[in-house]
């Protein structure tokens, strides 16, 4: 009985190592970030892109945000969006609730900055700014 158990243990030790060994010939499932990146799906919720021309200033996005991270202010005859990305939980409520589809969440997920204040975005005529950053 004891011997049988011992043999069983040895068998499974070998089997375990063999399984690991077998895997060393398989294709890697991980990606070597940051050199290579995975393709993100369309609906991915990253940093916000806001189209000031579409926005009508209804402030629905402010109301639905669970953490009060987003603010729309009127400046002169246009709107300005303030967003605190350090607060944002990327839930997408603002994007889903905006009736004018002025807010879109982009594929940009690399938000590391050296200065925390850089995460407080103040976007006026947003399109150009975001595009410039993405380039």
């Amino acid at each position: 009985m004891l011997l049988k158990k011992l043999l069983n243990k040895i068998y499974y030790l070998i089997l375990g190592h063999f399984t690991v060994f077998k895997h060393s010939f398989k294709r890697a499932v991980t990606v070597e970030y940051p050199e290579k990146k995975v393709k993100l799906p369309e609906r991915f919720r990253g940093k916000h892109v806001w189209n000031s021309n579409e926005c009508v200033g209804c402030k629905i996005c402010e109301k639905v945000c669970p953490v009060n991270a987003i603010h729309i202010n009127k400046v002169e005859d246009n709107f300005e969006m303030q967003i605190e990305l350090s607060k944002c939980i990327f839930c997408g409520n603002c994007q889903y609730s905006c009736l004018k589809h002025a807010i879109k969440m982009s594929n940009d997920f690399e938000l590391a900055v050296l200065n925390k204040n850089d995460l407080n975005l103040n976007i006026t005529s947003n399109e150009k700014k975001i595009e410039a950053k993405n380039d």
């Binding site: 243990k9 499974y12 375990g16 499932v29 609906r43 991915f44 839930c91 997408g92």
Partner: protein, 366 residues
């Protein structure tokens, strides 16, 4: 008789699956008393609800159990729908069921990997994470995020599923049984694994009823209670499945139940896919979630989550914000029963038994 030694396991212990502190008293290697200290991951999710509107609270609900976001989301949405008295379409319910079952597989896979790690086997976690990753990629494509989905809404879901996505799920389901077979090949009859799990942490039927244990832990004690079958919600009354149950009552039994449940989930998802491919319908209701006011009343919804019975109680006073939200989660009770299982056991079995209960701390503390 040696001196009694008091040690703290956790809260920063990697095997406590979060931040649980176990104040343990040892006589040599033997555990003579143990006291779980919870609360390190308390985020006040119940109190927070009272200061948020229903729509604002919806994304936070996923965080009650971050390994089973769809279950908590469903419980909350379901309660709100009942209070509003709205009927969801069949397609919505099938999509929700599909998501929840995929979530159950993902959650059990993570449990399997980490449990093996608890027992000292370090390679299975890579295999289970590989499969779990495929599920998360599917979720990401559907909902936009890997864990905090914010996908179910009041009366529907945010996006309809398309055949392309369903095909991808189907492809994944075709490789999963083989993967589960491979895990079983190196684990189920392994004498080292059996040594550490057989007859360890016996959870008797009386403990189950005394401590209100539910889910796979209870089903491994021979109690055939599955809320998906007993009180069918969502689309479960139209789906056929066999409840996995066994009489072993020990850690090994709990392992077998979870493996079996993954297989059951595969069956259920296949049935859902078949329905979704044939029946097209709306997936949202005509309500405006932004100005949602819920009539006075209260309701408790229940879901069979991967860790047991999950309940969401909402009391509304007719305003935009809930008056009270209460969560009942399976893990909380599993932590309470731990002293009964480990007192008198060897110290090295503590984590082996605790891991088998599949406790995750965010669910305990909320």
């Amino acid at each position: 008789m040696t001196d009694i030694m008091k040690i703290n396991v956790g809260p920063q212990h990697p095997s406590t699956h979060g931040v649980l502190r176990l104040i343990t008293e040892l006589d040599g290697e033997k555990i003579i008393s143990i006291k779980p200290e919870i609360g390190y991951l308390h985020r006040g999710l119940e109190k927070l609800a009272e200061s948020k509107t229903y729509l604002q609270y919806l994304p936070l609900v996923d965080r009650v159990d971050y390994l089973g976001g769809f279950f908590t989301s469903y419980a909350f949405c379901n309660a709100v729908e009942h209070l509003l008295n709205i009927q969801t379409t069949k397609r919505t319910e099938y999509i929700r069921t599909l998501c929840m079952e995929l979530n159950r597989i993902a959650s059990h896979l993570l449990w399997l990997g980490t449990y093996m790690l608890d027992l000292g086997a370090s390679s299975p976690i890579f295999y289970t994470f590989r499969e779990r990753e495929s599920i998360l990629a599917l979720f990401e494509e559907l909902t936009g995020q890997r864990m905090m989905y914010n996908y179910f809404t009041f009366g529907g879901v945010r996006f309809d599923v398309d055949n392309n996505w369903l095909d991808k799920v189907n492809d994944f389901l075709n490789i999963l049984p083989k993967a589960i077979g491979n895990y079983e090949k190196i684990i189920t009859n392994n004498a080292i694994f059996i040594d550490r799990t057989k007859n360890k942490g016996i959870l008797t039927k009386s403990f189950c009823s005394k401590y209100a244990i539910t889910g796979p832990n209870m089903r491994a004690s021979g109690l055939e209670i599955d809320f998906r079958q007993k009180m069918p919600y969502s689309a479960y009354n139209e789906l056929g499945f066999v409840v996995s149950v066994n009489n072993l009552s020990d850690s090994y039994g709990r392992y077998l139940v979870r493996i079996q449940e993954m297989r059951t989930s595969i069956d259920l998802i296949k049935q859902c896919i078949m329905f979704l491919k044939q029946n097209k319908d709306n997936v949202s209701c005509n309500i405006n979630p932004i100005k949602l006011k819920i009539p006075q009343g209260e309701y408790t919804s229940y879901v069979e989550s991967s860790r047991g019975l999950l309940c969401c109680y909402i009391q509304s006073d007719g305003s935009e914000k809930p008056y009270r939200v209460k969560w009942r989660t399976g893990s909380f009770y599993a932590v309470q029963v731990l002293p009964e299982l480990v007192i008198g056991q060897n110290y090295n079995d503590l984590i082996a038994i605790f891991g088998s209960l599949d406790v995750i701390l965010p669910e305990v503390d909320r």
